[in-house]
């Protein structure tokens, strides 16, 4: 029968789904806090770094056709170290899912369901994401292919409504505090771009693996543009000092739009419609990769049982933090773990690969 494989577009949108998550709402605030009006420059810079990292990953993936990092990590790094790396990835993914779920539940609670227990909201999101995960990677890809462009389109459409009140002069001066402050805030931004590492795991599912890098570039490009756009718009609308104080600038700018005369006058509902899918698909991607690692390490045929088993764990991670600041702390740990894994693991594997290749050619 006609085989299901991930197309290039699907791969790009999968990665986009993984990268764009809860960050959309709070990113401008975090960025402006560290880099001032030059925040958007930092995003571009981080995008550049992500491009380098993802190139290494794609290079590795192309060296081992039909295999994902789960198979070639033990080959390259040795059985013990390889498994350790994979377990670190597993931990990172699970933590990531937990914190994303919790953060999105917090936002939902704040804007839509003030009195509903956070557990219920978390459960709602997990049910949806788990149902999708059980359908397999191709269904996830199709889901992303449908929902991401739609959500993106709706978001951009809503954002155009803000243009009337923007003052792009607020973005001045460019590099007024010098390049150092931009560079210094670089690490804190890089978190928000995490997610492209799923390429390591999904590469073998592609119809045309040699073009994985292209998809990755597309995904990173889209994410960077979206983030930069949001940051620029928030600054242009409210000024850097105000953006820094607002917890969720993206929502704040949309809350300030009113479309008189329409049935739904306020557009924050549309923003929620955009944002909940963003959060859910992020969860799906990481949760899926986590269950993929486990099932393949254990030599299982199917990821479903494992992914069901992870639901309670993720749920626990999500509900354990006691308040918003604690959630932030957890997410920071997770992000550091992620940054470490993303920067170090592919690099060390490339070194191992080269070394091995030289040894093979010399003998």
């Amino acid at each position: 029968m006609i085989k299901d494989k991930l197309t290039n577009t699907q791969m790009a949108l999968q990665m986009f789904a993984a990268m764009v998550g809860v960050g959309v709402l709070s990113l401008p605030s975090v960025l402006v806090g560290s880099a001032g009006v030059d925040a958007w420059l930092v995003i571009l810079l981080a995008g550049g770094y992500a491009v380098i990292a993802v190139s290494i990953m794609a290079y590795l993936g192309n060296r081992f056709p039909g295999k994902s990092i789960i198979q070639y990590a033990p080959l390259l790094l040795g059985h013990v170290l390889g498994t350790c790396v994979l377990l670190a990835f597993l931990l990172y993914f699970l933590m990531f899912v937990g914190t994303i779920v919790r953060m999105s539940a917090d936002v939902t609670k704040l804007f839509l369901l003030d009195l509903t227990q956070v557990e219920v909201i978390v459960l709602g999101m997990l049910v949806t994401s788990t149902y999708l995960i059980l359908q397999g990677v191709n269904a996830i890809a199709r889901f992303n292919e449908f929902i991401q462009p739609l959500a993106l389109f709706a978001l951009l459409l809503v954002l155009t409504q803000t243009l009337r009140e923007t003052d792009f002069g607020r973005l001045l001066p460019v590099l007024g505090d010098g390049i150092q402050s931009v560079l210094q805030s670089f690490p804190s931004v890089f978190f928000s771009l995490l997610g492209f590492e799923i390429l390591l795991f999904l590469h073998p599912f592609m119809e045309n693996p040699s073009r994985g890098l292209q998809s990755a570039f597309l995904a990173i490009g889209m994410t960077v543009v979206l983030y930069a756009l949001l940051t620029i718009l928030s600054i242009a609308l409210m000024g850097a000092a105000e953006v820094e104080l607002i917890e969720y600038p993206a929502l704040a700018i949309i809350k300030s739009i009113e479309v008189p005369g329409s049935f739904i006058e306020r557009l924050d509902s549309i923003m929620m419609m955009v944002w909940v899918p963003f959060a859910v698909t992020s969860i799906v991607m990481f949760h899926y990769c986590a269950s993929l690692i486990t099932s393949q390490l254990l030599g299982l045929q199917d990821h479903r049982v494992v992914s069901l088993l992870y639901v309670p764990i993720v749920f626990l991670i999500a509900v354990l933090p006691r308040n918003v600041l604690e959630v932030e702390k957890w997410s920071q740990w997770t992000s550091w773990l992620g940054v470490g894994l993303v920067s170090l693991v592919p690099l060390s594997m490339i070194v191992a690969y080269k070394w091995r290749a030289r040894r093979v050619s010399s003998t």
Binding site: I2, L112, T128, A139, F143, S262, E265
Partner: protein, 467 residues
């Protein structure tokens, strides 16, 4: 006379079984038939006369075994035993009464041929054959049903259909082992991909043109004797929102109607849930003036909007079902009683708010926009869980519900074809015939999703750009 006894044994217990002896010494014939199935005048006037003429002009098929003979009698043939030759023949008895071809009531269309399928397989096949005099149209008939031995015909166009699809349909039909196949619905339920899903994964139609359109795109049609509903596989979600009119009317009209249908489907699915979410959870999202007036009209309503909406929507479904089974004249009365009287009275009694009545009415109309009845009922049924979700978690619940439905839709398959294609995975070539029906010259290729051979279906070279 082993045959005589054997036949009497097997069929004699039925009173409509008849056995007659006719003829002279040298030419004696025994007739066996079921008089419920044969046309007696025809036998007397035509068959018997001809049989007793000297020459043997009548083409009779020989029957070799008793089993065959029994089967032939049961199917309405008349079995003739010739004493002189000691062999049996079966002859057509022209007796099966069938409905004449009429306009289809369930699928009426404004533009395009009106004739609809009937219960007789042969008539139905002739409707197709007549329109497609092409040797590549293959028809394979098999019998399904332990008891009913229903004839099931498989129709496809060789050279267009993808062999994998055909093979898949054949394998699935081979697995059917069931007592009775009284309608194509039974076949549909046996071979469909997922019985959990509320969405129909096989299309049924009464219109020959729809079948032709499908098989010429590279799909397979399944006809069941005794059922005017012909099945079409594989099916995609978008097909359920298309009607033959779209192709026969000019493209702007066709496209406009399709867009209206899509909007209607969304409204039918989400509007009541959205109403609940906005009224009970997020009144901040409606304009202030509207919020005030809704609040004023709801002041006397004692129920939460969830209860109110579910009650009204359930009433609507009941009315619809009641109207469906009643004679036409009565069903209009039911419509008036339901629509006007109950709605008006409920508002005046302060049980529901007038806004809800508007919402329910709009929903009801929207559901009728979907051409495929089974798809429209799927949307109607899904409305209720969505309303529950919106009633317990507001807009958030509504969004989750929508995402769940979407996740289900993209995971469905129909005979190996993605149910949600060509929307996802992107088959941009097929988007010309999706929400918008592009002008005819742009539809020169068959749908890409079916991977049909010979994908060109028109040649534009002779057609000048401007006449």
């Amino acid at each position: 006379m082993k045959w005589d006894k054997e036949l009497a044994n097997r069929l004699g217990s039925s009173s409509d079984f008849q056995r007659y002896e006719l003829g002279t010494e040298e030419k004696q014939l025994l007739f066996f038939y079921l008089d419920s199935l044969v046309n007696l005048t025809y036998i007397q006037n035509q068959l018997v006369d001809k049989l007793f003429q000297d020459q043997h002009p009548y083409p009779l098929t020989a029957v070799h075994t008793v089993d065959e003979a029994v089967q032939a009698i049961l199917e309405g043939f008349i079995v003739i035993w010739s004493m002189s030759e000691q062999t049996a023949y079966k002859a057509i008895s022209n007796g099966l009464e069938s409905r004449s071809i009429e306009e289809s009531e369930n699928e009426s269309n404004l533009r395009g041929p009106r004739d609809g399928f009937v219960e007789s397989l042969n008539t139905n096949l002739s409707l197709i054959r007549r329109r497609l005099p092409n040797a590549d149209l293959h028809i394979h008939i098999r019998e399904i049903g332990r008891q009913t031995k229903t004839k099931v015909a498989l129709l496809y166009v060789q050279g267009i259909v993808h062999p994998d699809v055909l093979h898949e349909v054949r394998t699935r039909l081979d697995t059917i082992d069931i007592d009775q196949v009284l309608d194509s619905g039974i076949v549909e339920q046996w071979i469909e991909d997922s019985w959990v899903s509320p969405f129909p994964q096989i299309q049924n139609t009464e219109l020959p043109n729809k079948v032709l359109h499908a098989i010429l795109e590279g799909r397979v049609a399944i006809m069941v004797d005794g059922s005017p509903f012909v099945l079409i596989v594989p099916v995609t979600f978008s097909m359920l929102f298309q009607a033959p009119d779209d192709y026969y009317d000019r493209w702007l009209i066709g496209s406009a109607i399709r867009i209206i249908r899509a909007v209607g489907a969304l409204v039918a699915l989400f509007l009541p849930a959205l109403y609940i979410a906005l009224i009970s959870y997020h009144p901040g999202m409606i304009p202030t003036q509207l919020a005030l007036s809704i609040s004023a009209t709801r002041a006397e309503v004692p129920f939460p909007s969830l209860v109110e909406a579910i009650a009204m929507e359930a009433t609507l479904e009941m009315l619809r079902e009641a109207g469906l089974r009643l004679p036409k004249m009565l069903s209009q009365t039911v419509g008036i009683v339901g629509g006007l009287v109950i709605g008006q009275a409920a508002v005046e009694a302060g049980i529901v708010s007038p806004v809800l009545v508007i919402v329910v009415a709009i929903t009801a109309i929207s559901t009728f926009l979907v051409p495929a009845y089974n798809a429209s009922i799927a949307l109607r049924m899904l409305r209720f869980p969505l309303m529950l979700l919106a009633g317990s978690l507001g807009l958030f619940g509504l969004i989750l519900g929508a995402l769940l439905i979407l996740a289900h839709l993209v995971s469905l398959k129909s005979f190996g074809i993605n149910y949600f294609s060509p929307i996802v995975p992107y088959r941009t070539k097929d988007w010309k015939d999706l929400l918008v029906r592009a002008p005819l010259p742009y539809l020169k290729e068959r749908p890409e999703i079916l991977h049909s051979f010979n994908s060109k279906r028109m040649n534009l070279q002779k057609r000048k750009k401007g006449w």
